[in-house]
């Protein structure tokens, strides 16, 4: 199965996907689990009965055509939808080990966002200094001690593989960085607060190929420290960075499995059509 290119049906030329020679990964114990998750924007149901486990310290990719609900699903994990009026959750996303329902009515969305970090589609650093960008989340959590702050900021910048590039520019404006550096700064900003899960919402769609490669490499490394859930438009990216891939279509979870399986031997026709480029 591994490394094998499958083109199970004649038709449009399949997107060339190289799945690296990875042993069929075994799933770790789940860090979070969505159970019968429904979500509505007003009267429009955007997510329909999603069941999905997010294994700890592994990368799970969400793929699917535009409008399939993958970003909507991702944003349930840190309750971003609560910022919009007229949105409604049903079902649960249980976070282990304390078994808190992230989308539960009694759970404070701010507390959820303190535990689950997010990196957005476009790099969105604050128009403050590089240091202040990374320190902000810590300040919100009441870290005041200067040396403590400095240490943690450096740690986060190192973890995001950007320390060497910005160590002499910590008090420069973050807006002076390049697009790829800004995005790694945003990753550092999220990492500084030691989130339990890190959400990536198409983190490289605004970046050039070289910056993209750096971010992908970083995501692959980060999985040792944090559980990662990533939405991507780019199937090669899902194949390169993720351990597990979930395919969504029209608000439903069609199929989930080890990435090597999904890309070489999908179980459902819809998945196969999507990854071979019939629609997208």
């Amino acid at each position: 199965m591994q490394g094998e290119q499958t083109s199970p049906s004649a038709g449009p030329p399949s997107v060339s996907i190289t799945v690296e020679d990875r042993k069929a990964v075994r799933a770790n114990a789940p860090k979070a689990r969505a159970e019968a998750l429904n979500f509505w924007y007003g009267s429009n149901q955007a997510l329909k009965g999603i069941n999905l486990s997010i294994p700890e310290h592994q990368v799970t990719a969400l793929i699917g055509p535009s409008g399939c609900g993958k970003s909507t699903f991702l944003r349930c994990f840190n309750r971003m939808h609560d910022l919009q009026p007229d949105t409604r959750y049903q079902g649960s996303i249980m976070l282990r080990p304390d078994d808190i329902n992230l989308v539960g009515a009694g759970v404070d969305p701010i507390e959820v966002r303190m535990r689950i970090g997010m990196v957005f589609q476009k790099p969105n650093p604050f128009p403050k200094t590089v240091f202040e960008n990374v320190a902000y989340g810590l300040r919100l959590r009441g870290v005041r001690n200067r040396t403590d702050l400095a240490e943690r900021v450096e740690g986060a910048l190192r973890a995001a593989a950007i320390w060497d590039e910005v160590k002499d520019r910590l008090s420069d404006s973050a807006l002076a960085l390049s697009g790829g550096q800004m995005q790694r700064l945003c990753i550092a900003r999220a990492l500084a607060t030691q989130p339990e899960i890190l959400l990536f919402d198409e983190p490289t769609s605004a970046l050039d190929p070289i910056a993209t490669a750096k971010i992908e490499e970083l995501i692959s490394e980060l999985r040792q420290h944090v559980t990662i859930l990533i939405v991507t438009h780019n199937m090669q990216q899902a194949a390169r960075v993720s351990d597990f891939t979930a395919f969504m279509y029209l608000g439903e979870l069609v199929e989930v499995g080890a990435t090597s399986m999904i890309f070489t031997n999908p179980g459902k026709k819809a998945t196969e059509d999507y990854i071979t480029g019939r629609y997208g």
């Binding site: 910022l83 701010i110 966002r113 476009k122 969105n124 650093p125 128009p127 945003c186 999220a190």
Partner: protein, 296 residues
């Protein structure tokens, strides 16, 4: 497809020539309109300066009004205007910014009635509290007058902070107030100050509201000084003082039968206009500086 005639390169060039002409025409029309506006302003200003030329001098600034035109000055009016503007800014800025933040970040959909009642209440507050003919009541009245300007400008400034920045802050676990305090407000300071200054430069020339609350046009004394030599060093008596203001003084001089006072009115007018232009220039400079620092 065959039915549609192919456009030749000549056709394209002919069309392009015409469109470029139109482009140039627009530039010329725009330039003419702008020059006309500036020219009218300059003519009015120079006219005032010429009429009032005989009165410009140190004495004009340091003299109280007088029955004799050549001895009359704008000291009490200038001090009155400065104090009123100070009160106006001090009230309009926090109230306007708070109202705008509420409307933009917190308000439910029926905010409109809320703001109307709010303004009404503030108006009643000013008139019912019996503040009388004081600097305080003039400042509050003018603050009320420019509040809409400050609120609209502030809302515009708050709205220009990208959603992505707010999401970044919320995503780190910030509360709504923390997002506003740490991000939205600091990033929109330029727009807010610009709105305040434009509002103030509108208020500085207002006559009618100040007359309504009873500004006196002949005041030969200064309000008590806000700063004093002894503890507690601050003195709020000036707020209760009677006052006059630049536009009132002008109005008074213009309506005198003695022609000599017309020169005084013109000189005061030129100074008032100059102050307004300066404030506008300051607004432009602030906006430019903040734009340069933060470009999304």
């Amino acid at each position: 497809m065959a039915a549609v005639a192919q456009l030749t390169l000549e056709d394209l060039r002919a069309g392009l020539g015409w469109r470029k002409q139109l482009d140039k025409l627009f530039v010329i029309v725009g330039l003419l309109v702008m020059i006309a506006c500036l020219a009218i302003l300059a003519i009015l200003f120079l006219d005032l300066v010429r009429d009032g030329a005989s009165r410009f001098g140190w004495d004009f600034f340091t003299s109280f009004p007088s029955r004799k035109a050549e001895r009359a000055g704008i000291l009490s009016a200038a001090v009155g205007t400065t104090m009123i503007m100070f009160v106006t800014a001090l009230v309009a800025l926090p109230v306007g910014v708070a109202a705008a933040i509420y409307l933009e970040e917190y308000a439910p959909k029926n905010w409109f009635t809320g703001i109307i009642y709010g303004l009404l209440a503030l108006g009643l507050f000013v008139y019912q509290f019996g503040l009388g003919q004081s600097v305080l009541s003039a400042g509050l009245t003018l603050a009320l007058l420019i509040l809409p300007i400050v609120i609209v400008a502030t809302r515009e400034a708050l709205r220009s902070v990208p959603k992505a920045i707010r999401e970044a802050a919320y995503g780190l676990g910030a509360t709504r107030w923390e997002v506003t305090r740490d991000h939205v407000l600091p990033y929109s300071t330029g727009g807010i100050l610009t709105g305040l200054i434009l509002g103030l430069s509108r208020a500085i020339g207002e006559t009618a509201p100040i007359i309504t609350i009873g500004a006196l046009s002949f005041i030969a004394f200064l309000p008590p000084s806000p700063v004093s030599g002894e503890f507690p060093f601050l003195n709020f008596e000036w707020l209760r003082s009677e006052f006059t203001a630049m536009p009132i003084q002008m109005f008074n001089w213009v309506s005198r039968p003695d022609q000599a006072f017309q020169a005084n009115a013109a000189a005061a007018g030129a100074i008032l206009l100059g102050m307004t232009l300066l404030m506008n220039a300051l607004a432009i400079w602030i906006r430019y500086r903040f734009r340069k620092r933060i470009n999304w």
